[in-house]
């Protein structure tokens, strides 16, 4: 029992889960009961899978001990590339594949350059942030491509799947991908290598793990997820703008950190990234619903980040301090 309690305290996503529950209750009371209504949940569930998918990719990468600041730009570049190709006469699915392939190439470059030249990924992906954003504007030629409603089968990604019109397909896509990535991290040898690489690089190298390739793979997954999320948002709004996803890179890092992922690598969970992203969305939405001046949003997120990390560290220390004998 004590042992289980100790393990629970050391779970990195514990603090944010508690916070999430408290905030939902708070907003429900402050908004006089409009927070948990069908209309509001629909609104939250539209945007959530998109930002959460980016957070999931960034979380995986951070567990591996690396950063990606280019996700916001890739978020815009992928749908823009796809739309330009569709307008140019490409079949929809081929255009989607081409867009995702471009994301994979960007992820590969992020990882390869960081590894090959031994520079921090913070720098590599900061450069990529500007380059990918610029490419987005260049491929659009300054004029956003127009795709007529019904021209592409966007319902596969964003159509409502239930009669009531609450849950979009994007929620299911997100759930499926998040579960896959969780399993990849928890149940496969690749996941073991990711944690070892981020947890203690010299040991991982000494044990013969191809740490360079593991990192590159994580960079590629992260970029592909960001591009996929951007595509879902663009299809949902049916507009392809070069400016979407700006500032998203830091929000994704924030979500991961709130969810208990360590900046130093090795610690974190996919579910934590999801909880972090949900917290951000809930605060954004809950403040509006509670008629609090929305300009406080960024203040709240900032304070939450610091608070969550302190809370996580405190809980983990309490957990570690609980004496459980390791000897038999």
């Amino acid at each position: 029992m004590r042992r289980l309690f100790k393990l629970a305290l050391q779970k990195p996503e514990l603090a944010s889960t508690i916070l999430l529950l408290l905030l939902v209750i708070l907003f429900e009371i402050r908004s006089n009961g409009v927070f948990i209504t069908i209309d509001n949940i629909r609104g939250v569930l539209g945007l959530l899978p998109e930002t959460a998918l980016v957070a999931v990719g960034v979380t995986l990468l951070m567990i591996c001990g690396e950063f990606d600041l280019s996700v916001g730009s890739v978020f815009a570049l992928m749908p823009m590339t796809m739309a330009v190709l569709v307008v140019g006469g490409w079949p929809f699915w081929l255009a989607v594949l081409a867009g995702l392939a471009l994301c994979a190439v960007i992820g590969f470059l992020n990882g390869y350059i960081s590894n090959r030249f031994e520079i921090p990924s913070f720098i590599t992906t900061l450069g990529m942030l500007f380059m990918a954003r610029s490419m987005t504007v260049v491929v659009s030629g300054g004029f956003p491509p127009r795709i007529k409603p019904g021209q592409v089968p966007s319902w596969i990604f964003v159509g409502f799947v239930d009669g009531g019109g609450i849950i979009r397909a994007s929620v299911l896509w997100f759930a499926g991908i998040a579960i896959l990535i969780s399993l990849l991290l928890a149940r496969t040898n690749f996941g073991n290598w990711v944690r070892a690489t981020g947890g203690f690089l010299p040991a991982a190298q000494a044990m013969g793990i191809p740490t360079g390739r593991v990192k590159i793979a994580c960079f590629m997954i992260c970029s592909i997820l960001a591009g996929f999320a951007g595509m879902m948002q663009s299809l949902r709004l049916n507009s392809f703008l070069p400016s979407i996803g700006e500032g998203m890179e830091l929000q994704a890092v924030t979500a991961a950190v709130i969810g208990g992922t360590s900046l130093a690598g090795g610690v974190g969970s996919i579910i934590g990234g999801l909880i972090g992203a949900t917290l951000i969305r809930i605060i954004d939405n809950g403040m509006v619903m509670s008629q609090i001046d929305a300009n406080w949003f960024k203040f709240a997120i900032g304070a939450l980040t610091i608070f969550a990390v302190i809370g996580n560290a405190w809980l983990r220390r309490r957990g570690r301090a609980m004496k459980v004998e390791t000897d038999r």
Binding site: R187, T188, N189, F190, G191, N192, W193, R195, A196, G199, F200, P202, A203, A204, Q205, A206, M207, G208, I209, G266, V267, R320, V324, E325, T326, D327, R328
Partner: protein, 243 residues
């Protein structure tokens, strides 16, 4: 004389202007516990890093059971049965014992192109058995390595090497930063290895630790071997004097 299990011939290594190894030739025989001593910078770690695949020699040969081998990376070394336990600990503190035991060599239920689903049940059972085999008794294979004491960690690392049937075990300063009691435990592990017929190379700059568990002493200074004698024919005083 039978063929040495591991032999180096005239190994050289330069680190940008520093000649760290100046023609090191060393023979280690099966079942031997060899103590490698020397001051910091004498070339002990360089020699070990070459044998364990972290670095490559600039010149010279390595022979295993009389056959020349090419050790390009740690995976090659482990494949040949050379396992190294480092002073900084070759484990990830934030991962569980069973996961650490199998890092890089995970048993899989099924896989596609080398990536697959872990056989966690086997990992738990085998790690418990491996740890018990080196006479270390831990409550659970699910505890984090970071919760173990330094001596216990080295024990798990040795258990890991034993589990993968290493022929040669290299311990690079395994007693650094350990308390007296913990050190005694690690020296006990090394003695246990000898009883099981595993060849060990024990590196330390603490002469007492080396003499406590090794039957042959090799001393290095300035990239060269300066003494090579059975432990019974030399003494701490003699070795200290040479160094």
């Amino acid at each position: 004389m039978n063929t040495p299990i591991i032999e180096t011939r005239n190994l050289h290594k330069w680190y940008s202007g520093v000649h760290a190894l100046k023609g090191v030739s060393l023979q280690v025989h099966k079942g031997e516990a060899l103590g490698l001593v020397g001051d910091n910078g004498a070339g002990k770690s360089t020699l070990i890093n070459i044998l364990s695949g972290l670095h490559r020699a600039d010149d010279g040969e390595i022979l295993l059971d009389g056959q020349p081998v090419d050790i390009r990376n740690p995976k090659d070394a482990m494949g040949l049965g050379i396992e190294t336990i480092y002073q900084y600990n070759s484990m990830v503190p934030l991962m569980t014992i069973s996961r650490n035991v199998f890092i890089g060599r995970e048993p899989l239920k099924w896989s596609v192109g080398g990536i697959g689903i872990l056989d966690e049940k086997k990992m738990r059972q085998d790690s418990v058995k491996a740890i018990a085999d080196v006479d270390l008794h831990l409550r659970s294979p699910d505890a984090l390595v970071g919760e173990l004491s330094g001596g216990q960690r080295q024990g798990v690392a040795i258990a890991r090497a034993m589990h993968f049937k290493s022929k040669v075990m290299i311990l690079d300063e395994p007693t650094n930063h350990l308390s007296v009691k913990e050190t005694a435990k690690v020296i006990g592990f090394v003695k246990g290895l000898k009883a099981q017929g595993v060849t060990t190379i024990f590196i330390s700059h603490n002469m007492h630790h080396v003499f406590a568990c090794c039957d042959r002493i090799v001393a290095m200074a300035l990239g060269q071997i300066v003494l090579d004698k059975p432990a019974s024919e030399t003494s701490i005083e003699e070795v200290s004097e040479i160094l």
